[in-house]
């Protein structure tokens, strides 16, 4: 990073996202006079992330959480909005800022096999990061690779193995080691335990939690599984159809969910309690297609507490109250 960044006050959040919008064109026959349709995959998302903080992004498939994460890392095109990392605005026009971002962020993926180049050994994969970013002198690369592997709980012998000979959990560990090689300040983990078995899932969650604490890493943890998020994150943001409908400290949100959607999600966590049977009152329907987002509150068609204003009113504004925000008409009056 340029030296001017050092002057930034400590209170500056690591990451600030303001009114981020990501659009995708929808394919279809280009009838003359027909405007190209677009999907607003991410629709005006704002969030901040402090150093060392972990934020959970929760939502159903297709709600835009992965798109949001990729947009933050400049891996997808942004329609409007701004992203500041360490106080500096990141835009594709400013190639230097993107390079700076890449040097301090890393990503962990859902498919542990797919995220590794099948033709490179584990050692080569990790060494490549060190070489490209000149993290350590050439002579010390081997040592650093061994060190990183040890950090994620893999012995030296894995260095010469290819991904296909590893189990899913081991591949995920390699993915984490590769992310750590960059010495990031921010890691975005996209459903990184969803494809793993429960017993392995617990290993990876513990590993990530441990590393996060030791290295003061900020983590954006994307998941559909709320139980996992509860273990990983300080704060959680619930995403529905490209918008954040609720955000707050994890325990608060889990114990007293405010938005009806969050309530349904929390209720759907399959806790292992033999006396707890399948809930009778379920959320009806499924998320509508992002092409046809309903007017008003996008959740109103499935909401058990739907009121007149939900259908009419323009999308309700996020309101702040005790470090939480909820986008719901129900809480409009409670606002102080």
């Amino acid at each position: 990073m340029p030296p001017c960044q050092a002057k930034q006050p400590v209170s500056e959040p690591l990451l600030t996202v303001r009114d981020l919008v990501v659009r995708f064109p929808v394919s279809g026959f280009p009838w003359p006079g027909r405007k190209g349709r677009v999907v607003r995959a991410v629709d005006g998302v704002s969030l901040t992330l402090e150093r060392g903080e972990s934020l959970g992004l929760v939502g159903e498939s297709g709600c835009g959480k992965t798109t949001l994460a990729r947009a933050i890392l400049q891996l997808g095109e942004i329609a409007s909005g701004s992203i500041h990392f360490e106080g500096r605005e990141i835009t594709t026009d400013d190639a230097k800022s993107v390079v700076g971002l890449r040097r301090q962020t890393a990503m962990i993926f859902q498919d542990p096999y797919g995220a590794l180049n099948p033709r490179m050994t584990v050692g080569e994969t990790i060494a490549e990061v060190l070489k490209v970013h000149k993290k350590v002198p050439q002579a010390k690369i081997d040592n650093r690779v061994i060190e990183l592997l040890k950090l994620v709980g893999l012995s030296n012998e894995y260095r010469s193995r290819k991904p296909a000979t590893l189990s899913g959990g081991q591949c995920q560990r390699v993915g984490i080691a590769r992310a750590l090689a960059i010495e990031p300040k921010l890691i975005i983990a996209d459903e990184c335990v969803a494809a793993l078995d429960v017993s392995i899932q617990a290993q990876i969650i513990n590993l990530l939690n441990d590393l996060r604490r030791r290295m003061r890493l900020a983590v954006i943890f994307i998941a559909h599984d709320l139980a996992v998020v509860r273990h990983m994150c300080d704060r959680v943001a619930v995403v529905y159809l490209g918008r954040i409908v609720e955000e707050g400290p994890t325990t608060e949100v889990f114990v007293h969910p405010k938005h009806p959607y969050t309530q349904a999600l929390v209720q759907a966590i399959p806790e292992i309690d033999p006396d707890r049977s399948l809930p009778r009152a379920l959320l009806a329907g499924e998320p509508p297609s992002p092409l046809r987002i309903p007017k008003g509150c996008s959740f109103h068609q499935r909401c058990p507490f739907v009121m007149d204003q939900c259908q009419r009113g323009e999308p309700p504004v996020l309101r702040n109250s005790d470090g939480r925000r909820v986008a719901c008409h129900l809480y409009g009056e409670v606002q102080q």
Partner: protein
């Protein structure tokens, strides 16, 4: 034992050639009553999918076959039936739904046509009668406006709706047993609950018996009457849901319950060290011993057999009997 609808007794499935044979699942026994929901739980590679595929004799690879054991449906032995005889069992007595409904529906045939075809194949109704029956089924599985959606194609349905169509297809032949292989894994949590609810409602209205195969103990805890826990191709514990979950007798079951993120409030999750063994390198003795905290010499040499702990609760662990005489 006459009240059991489906009885599986020491079922072993093998794969490979005669000289190079590996057993995929070994010595699997369990039974299912009419109207019971049985949960088969296990990690990937535990053999749970192979077990339920063996029940309808549709193996994931061609070289797999039933090596020994018996499957009895309402007293009728299924393993000795030839292919032609078995085809009448498959579908009409045992139905199956899969994890990924999209890949099990014909993309170029309307939902209604697929359902009507299945009905005509297994039952008598023809033409209009079959189509009416198909609409009826769609209504039963909770598809809104079935008359309208009847002509729609699979891609016009959402994931949850496709799974409902799959269930309707399985029900078309009026089976007594429904095998659901990870039916909700590909679905979102809120939709998952809807599908599970539907399965339970069908059990109540149609008297279906359901085998629910899943890796998610939470689902089992919410929906099933009894549980079979599988590890590395063997059953390690079996019993009524309440007993197994509240007082597990096999260390693997206990650990599996403990490491569910939903159940733990502490910041460090308990976990099972290591990973499940590969088919090619099964450990000797108890297959769980390399990952077990309580393993002792006997576990390394002798395969534990399922032993009764209480009336309907069995576990395959050398320690289980002692701790619970």
């Amino acid at each position: 034992m006459t009240d059991q609808l489906l009885e599986i007794d020491s079922l072993t499935v093998a794969a490979g050639t005669k000289d190079n044979e590996t057993t995929i699942i070994e010595d699997i026994s369990f039974s299912l009553k009419t109207g019971e929901v049985l949960g088969v739980v296990g990690e990937s590679g535990s053999g749970k999918t192979v077990t339920c595929r063996a029940l309808i004799r549709l193996f994931p690879t061609r070289d797999m076959r039933i090596a020994s054991g018996s499957i009895r449906l309402a007293g009728e032995e299924l393993t000795t039936l030839d292919e032609r005889e078995f085809a009448s069992v498959r579908g009409s007595k045992i139905g199956m739904i899969f994890q990924n409904p999209a890949s099990h529906l014909d993309p170029v045939m309307s939902i209604g046509a697929q359902l009507a075809e299945s009905l005509e194949h297994h039952q008598t109704p023809r033409g209009k009668e079959a189509r009416n029956e198909a609409r009826n089924l769609l209504r039963q599985v909770g598809i809104p406006d079935p008359d309208y959606r009847f002509k729609d194609y699979p891609h016009q349905f959402s994931g949850g709706m496709r799974q409902r169509v799959m269930i309707a297809l399985a029900l078309a032949c009026n089976p007594t047993v429904l095998i659901a292989d990870e039916p909700t894994t590909a679905l979102d949590v809120t939709v998952q609950a809807q599908i599970l609810r539907l399965l339970l409602d069908l059990r109540d209205t149609r008297g279906l018996s359901i085998i629910l195969v899943t890796h998610d103990l939470g689902i089992v805890a919410q929906t099933c009457d009894s549980i079979v826990v599988m590890y590395a191709g063997r059953v390690c514990e079996r019993g009524p849901k309440r007993t197994v979950i509240s007082s597990p007798s096999h260390p693997y079951t206990a650990k599996l319950i403990a490491c569910q993120p939903a159940n733990v409030v502490a910041s460090v999750l308990p976990n099972i060290s290591g990973q499940p063994p590969y088919q090619s390198e099964m450990p000797k003795g108890c297959r769980f011993h390399p990952r077990c905290d309580f393993a002792f010499d006997r576990c390394r040499t002798e395969i534990p057999v399922l032993a009764a702990i209480s009336e309907r609760h069995v576990a395959a662990c050398h320690l289980a009997k002692r701790s619970n005489p």
